[in-house]
Structure formats: C-alpha cells, structure tokens
C-alpha cells in the first residue's frame, strides 16, 4: 500500500493600509502606498520576502523538481501577491512560473483578494474566485481544479458550493473536533455533496515544520529529514500526509539559520528511500484514493489558533463592525462601475486587515504582533476606518446617496 506526502504551500501578501489618517480621508485615496521605509510599505515587504523566502525557496524547489521526477507540490497564490510581484519583484514571479512549467506543480483555486467574502456576499465571492481563476490561467496556463478558501475557512456550505462549481477537491483543517476518532491521513467526502473530495491538513506534522522547526525547547528538535521520514514510515494506517502550510515558512517564519532549507532539500531523497512512498499533488491524491468516510462540518473551521475558528478575524466588535460596514457598500460601489473604486474596496476585504485588529492576545504580545505592521490593533482599526470613510466619501462625490 503506497503512502504519499501532499505538500501544499500557500503564498499571500495583502495590500497593507498605510498610516492613513483623518487628514487624508476625503482628500487622498492612496491607502496602500506607504513611504518605502514605513512599516506598512508593501513594496519594501515584498522585496524582503522575495529575498528571504520566495527566491531561495523556489531555487531549492526547482532543483528538487529537476533531481527527482517523483517530487510534486501544490500551491495557492493570491491575486494580491501576484500583482505585487509583477510590480516589484518580476524575478520572483518568474521563479514561480519556472516551477509550474515543470508540470509537477498544481495551483489551487481561491479568492483573488484573500477575502472572507463567502460569509458575507455570495456574488462578490464568486466574482473574486473567477478573477483568481483568470489570473492563474493568464500567468501559469493552468485552471485550478481544487479549491481552498481564505484561512482554510470551511463548512458544509462551502463544500456544497465547490461541488456545484465543479471542483474535484477542497482543503480544510484536520481539526480533531471534526475528525473525532478519524485520522486526517485519508481522503474524505464532504457531507451533502456528490463528487467532491476533502483533504484535511495533518496539523501536527505540518506544524512540526511550520511552527516548531526552530524551537530548541521542542522535544523533536532538531528535526531532520531522516527523523521526519521515520515518523511517517511508522504511521502505518495512512494513505496521505497532508502537509499544508504558509509558503513563508521557508526563510521567513523559519529563518535560513534554522536549517529549514536543508530539511527541505533532503526531504524528497529521504522519503523516496522507502519502497512505495510517493509525492502527490492535491488532484493526484484525490484521483488515487477512495474516500473512506464522509465529514459533516456544520460549524466553520479554520487553520488558525487553538480555537480553529474565525475569532482571530471576527472576534471583537471592531472587526465585526468593520467588515459589516465594508460589505454594506457592495451594492453602491459595484453599481458605479468605477474599476479603481471597486478594486480599492476589494483590497480592503483582504482578511489580514481584520487580523491586525485582533485583540485576543495583544496584552501578552505574541505571534499576532509579529505579523502586524501596526503598533496596536487599535491603530489598525483607525487606519482601516479612515480608508473606509474615504470610500464612502468617493461614493458621495459621485452623487450616491448612502
């Protein structure tokens, strides 16, 4: 019985809102254009991430693809990061194209703007999914067959939608409360669907790489490719190991000095030492294994935090009121047909903006602070709200009554 590693990497960068104040609202519409040296500068961050993560990681991945015909990976890349690479790091974009050109990299579909639109407007959600599909076709010549929603936010409704939309597979967190006694290491079928299959992240193994890799206090440290293969080989009752993580794990979350690139370089060779071991893209895994059971997920789950829910994005009233106000503008904004206005509205839908407003652990200063360009969640809210009011002011200037 063969076993496959399904390595799936998620690439994303938002358009961060600059230090946009009440003095800018109604006057300037350049919410996303921070000066280069500011913490919120998208250009600077793209340069940094390309240099620390995208370019070195893609170099390693390309070598591995060339050395090992059995090596395969899946990726999702948001529209907002693709645009920023086109503009500020064409060489990084080219390195992604080179990977896909090997024919062994599958691109997974999602919303163009990395939004939570599914939960607020089905029409807007479908528009963003279509935008993303077109962008991927245009840049990579591939049409996504498997879907992932922003932050792996998943429930029965989403699976039902993806099934009807013709996707063969969908990704979700392998959360214990949903799996119950079952293992994430198999292919499943979402409840109330006909054809679609569900791949669930093995968060223990994924987080060993994504979060714990560089932690010297962790019992598993140092993690080598050899040790990792042993863990997987000793897991007998399994067909797939769904290793899902942020692409920026390589070189950004786990620094080069942690040895993460050495781990990546040695993983294929080590894994393929055992007879029957394989790498598969998400589509191949779905084609190769039958669904062993159906999974019923009435409540929304995500891949974030210990709660695995949307509370990091929608856990406080600043977040909820911001997102509700934003989607309240949908009808008047779309009606204007003003493409720049619509695009600015969509960029504000990116989930990261709401994440920056998260107050859950702010007092203790932790991981959330690391990923935020703002000093406090309140500053994030203020910048966002001033930009939101500018959207309204642009509508009012067009004679729209709100």
């Amino acid at each position: 019985m063969s076993k496959a590693i399904v390595l799936y990497l998620h690439v994303h960068q938002p358009y961060r809102v600059r230090h946009y104040t009440i003095f800018d609202t109604g006057v300037r519409h350049d919410y996303f254009d921070a000066p280069y040296d500011d913490r919120e500068s998208n250009e600077r961050i793209v340069h940094k991430v390309a240099e620390k993560s995208y370019l070195p990681t893609n170099r390693h991945l390309l070598e591995l693809l060339q050395e090992h015909p059995e090596f395969k990976i899946s990726m999702s890349i948001t529209g907002t990061v693709l645009e920023q690479l086109e503009r500020w790091s064409p060489e990084a974009l080219q390195s992604f194209k080179d990977l896909v050109a090997t024919g062994r990299v599958e691109i997974v579909g999602e919303t163009y703007h990395h939004s939570l639109a599914f939960f607020y407007s089905r029409a807007e959600f479908e528009a963003q999914v279509a935008m993303h599909r077109e962008k991927i076709e245009q840049l990579f010549g591939q049409t996504p067959k498997v879907f992932r929603n922003t932050e792996l936010a998943y429930n029965n409704d989403l699976a039902y939608w993806a099934d009807k939309a013709g996707y063969k597979g969908i990704l979700a967190e392998g959360w214990d409360k949903v799996l119950d006694w079952r293992s994430p290491n198999f292919v499943y079928r979402p409840a109330y669907t006909d054809n679609i299959r569900l791949l669930m992240k093995n968060y223990r193994l994924s987080d060993d790489i994504a979060f714990r890799f560089g932690d010297r206090n962790w019992a598993g440290w140092p993690l080598t490719a050899d040790k990792f293969r042993h863990w997987l080989d000793n897991t007998h009752d399994a067909s797939v190991f769904n290793l899902f993580m942020d692409y920026e794990t390589f070189g950004e979350h786990q620094w080069h000095e942690s040895g993460i690139f050495d781990f990546l370089r040695h993983l294929p060779k080590e894994w393929l030492k055992t007879q029957g071991n394989a790498f598969m893209t998400v589509s191949e895994a779905i084609d190769s294994f039958d669904a062993v059971d159906q999974i019923d997920t009435p409540q929304t789950i995500t891949w974030a935090d210990t709660e695995r829910d949307l509370s990091a994005w929608l856990g406080n009233n600043m977040q909820v009121s911001s997102i509700l106000s934003l989607y309240d503008l949908e009808e008047p904004i779309v009606k204007t047909g003003d493409l720049q206005l619509i695009e600015d509205w969509r960029r504000l839908q990116t989930s990261d903006h709401f994440y920056y407003m998260c107050t859950k652990w702010f007092s203790d200063g932790d991981i959330h602070a690391y990923f935020s360009p703002y000093e406090t969640p309140y500053d994030a809210f203020i910048a966002f709200t001033n930009a939101y009011h500018d959207l309204r002011s642009r509508l009012i200037q067009k004679g729209v009554e709100l």
Partner: protein, 399 residues
C-alpha cells in the same frame, strides 16, 4: 521613610504612591516610620508610624496652598514665619537629622528631591544605606531636556551619586536619570507605580457634570484631561489637536480638570483657536467632582511632554474610560491596550481622538481590554521588588 506628603494633604500622585507603597510593604512585614515635613493628624493610618519632623523650636508646620507654596512655621515662642520650598527642604533636613539620631532602623528610603538633603544627612550620620526613589526628575518638571532649576538639579544629582540604590518609577524615568546625571544603568531599578483597583472609590449618584451629561444625551462626546496646567503636561498640543477634532466633529467637548500657571494661557489659546465654546475649564477638583470627570468622558487624554508615571491614566481606566497617553509616559509601559502618541505629534493625536469620537466600538474595545490589564495591577508586586532590594542592602550592612 522620608516623604513630602501623604493623602489627603497631597498635591499630586507622589503622596498617593507613598501611601500605597507603604501599605503594601507593611503587609510584607516592613516596620516603617514615615517622616513628614508638616503637621497633620494621621491617626487613621495603622500600618506605619507617621511623624512630623519639626525643626528645633518649631511647634507646628502648616501646609498652605495646593502645591509648592510657602508654609507657615509656628515656633515654640508663638512667632510665625513663612518659609519657601528650599527653606522647607533645609528645615526638614535639620529636623530629620535629629530624628535619626534618636531612632534605630536599617534602611533610609527617600522620595523625590525635596527629601534628598535629609536623606543624605541621615546617611552621613548613621552610615545606613540610602535608597533614593524618584517619582520625577527635574527635567520632567521643567518639560525640557537638561532643563530645570540648577539648585534642584544640584541636590538631585548629588543624592543620586551618593545613594546606594536608586528606584525609578518607570523606564522613562530611568532613562532620564541616566541622561541627566550620567548615573550607571545598573544602579537604577525600575519599580513601576501602580494603582490598586480595590482602592478605587466607586462612583455614586448622578454625575456631578450635569450639563455634560445632558449634552451626551444629545449626541455629544467628551474628551477629558486631568492634571496640573503646567508646561510638563503638554496641553497646548492637545488644544491644537482638539481644534482638528472639532472641525470634523463639532459635537465634541474637552473637559480640563486642574489648575496651574498655564491656566490663563490655555484659556486664551483655546479662544484663539476658535474652540473656546468646546473647552471646559473645570479648575482643580477633589472627591466626587474629580472622579466624575473621568467617568463622564469617552476618552481620557494625557499628552505629557514627560510623565514619570501618570497615575491619573490608571484612574481613568478604573472609572470606565479608555486612554490616549504620550509615549513619553511611564504608564505607556504598563498598559498595552491604549492609544499612544508622541507628545509633539498633533496630527496623530487629532487622528486618534477623532477615531474614538466617531467609533463607539473602538472606545468600548479599548476600554474593555485596558480594564483587564488594569485589574491585574497590584501594589504588592511593586512592594515585592522593593522588599527584595531592602533585603539585599540590609544583609550587606550586617555583613
């Protein structure tokens, strides 16, 4: 313990901090004799001995005025003399000299520059370790780096050099001590000031600011500032920022509680800025009117140029109001869930105030989270640190 004031005869945070700190220290077993420079009845305090240090031939020393005015010295022969601040400090030194010769103790703990001369004399006479506890530095009070009264700087600097250990009420103050007097960092320990939520006197009855309460019903929002009207507090910047707020949200009022030498200047400035109708000068207040000022506000602002700690900001949180504080304040080191601004950044101050005025969710979220931090504060933690320092120095002396 050498201190300049205790509540209710206090002009600011210093007296409150001394009172709370001694209370927490006594729970740890500290036997404290608190020596004051004036005469007052403190029989209600049962956790330490409070004694006035009267200079020779002086029967009583009467405080006068709200701040640092001349005091009335009533001599044994019935004569009355008025003495200014430097005179008081010198009289106190002499008096403390006689107190220490009579008593026995292990540690001399002196609060702020006014008690420094006395602290030095006590150390000289007894050889006991001297701990100088600074609640503010002269440059803070003058609102200027390298600034202040040279006589005060001389006393402060000398005491810091000779002290066995220095306590600063914040990292901000520690940095100022290093910057102003070149003291090595490892001689200075930061013991944050605190506020015991249990000590907050609850609100009672209708808010004393009836008119402001009525305006709130009509959709007005209130911004409050509590503190002396003095250059250190950075209030002109707040008025400039507030003009920008009013330009966008006319239904906003600024309530200023306090008095000081800048009062007339600030009234004039608010008129010149065209916001005279939006700024309420409520003068110095105590008791219910003091507490209700915090409670009526939607946002408390402390824009100090340099604020060693800023207890008022914690009181504001206690009374249900979120805070905006300058980065140049000690309280910004202990509360994360607040808005922070550089005291000179008028635009950002206006931006933040406007955001709170326009968004009740921001106001409520800020307060709910800051209250959780506030609720965890305890003077016991500060006393624990001090106790550790006391033990260290007592042992060294014994050995």
């Amino acid at each position: 313990m050498l201190g300049w004031e205790l509540p209710p005869h206090n002009s600011g945070g210093l007296g409150i901090a001394c009172y709370q700190l001694c209370k927490a220290l006594s729970k740890k077993g500290a036997d404290i004799e608190f020596v004051l420079p004036y005469t007052a009845d403190y029989s209600s305090i049962n956790f330490m001995r409070v004694n006035p240090a009267h200079p020779q031939d002086v029967r009583a020393v009467m405080q006068s005025g709200i701040a640092y005015d001349s005091w009335k010295y009533i001599k044994a022969n019935g004569e009355i003399e008025y003495v200014d601040l430097f005179g008081q400090s010198a009289m106190y030194e002499e008096a403390v000299g006689r107190v220490v010769e009579a008593g026995s103790f292990d540690i001399i703990h002196a609060h702020d520059w006014l008690t420094c001369r006395a602290g030095l004399r006590a150390k000289m006479l007894t050889g006991k370790p001297l701990i100088v506890h600074l609640h503010s530095v002269e440059s803070d009070r003058s609102g200027q780096i390298g600034g202040g009264n040279p006589l005060v700087r001389e006393i402060e600097g000398l005491a810091l050099l000779i002290a066995d250990r220095i306590i600063a009420v914040s990292e901000h103050t520690k940095k100022a001590i290093i910057r102003e007097y070149g003291i090595p960092a490892d001689k200075i320990e930061v013991v944050h000031n605190c506020f015991d939520p249990d000590n907050l006197i609850p609100e009672s009855g209708d808010n004393a600011y009836a008119y402001l309460h009525q305006l709130k019903q009509e959709g007005y929002r209130i911004v409050a500032s509590v503190g002396r009207l003095t250059v250190q507090k950075g209030l002109p910047n707040l008025l400039h920022a507030f003009r920008e707020v009013v330009a966008r949200e006319p239904k906003t009022l600024l309530l200023m509680v306090g008095s000081g030498e800048q009062r007339n200047e600030l009234i004039q400035l608010s008129a010149d800025l065209g916001i005279g109708q939006n700024v309420v000068f409520a003068d110095f207040q105590r008791g219910k009117r003091y507490r209700d000022a915090y409670a009526i506000a939607d946002l408390f602002v402390m824009p100090s140029v340099s604020e060693p700690f800023g207890l008022v900001a914690l009181e504001a949180i206690g009374y249900g109001t979120p805070i905006l504080v300058s980065r140049q304040s000690g309280v910004a080191e202990v509360i994360n869930n607040c808005l922070k601004v550089d005291f000179w950044d008028i635009q950002q101050m206006a931006n933040q105030i406007t955001a709170v005025i326009q968004n009740d969710v921001l106001r409520d979220e800020l307060h709910a989270n800051s209250y959780k931090e506030y609720d965890r504060l305890s003077w016991d933690d500060s006393a624990e640190k001090l106790w550790h320092i006391y033990s260290h120095h007592s042992v060294k002396v014994a050995a």
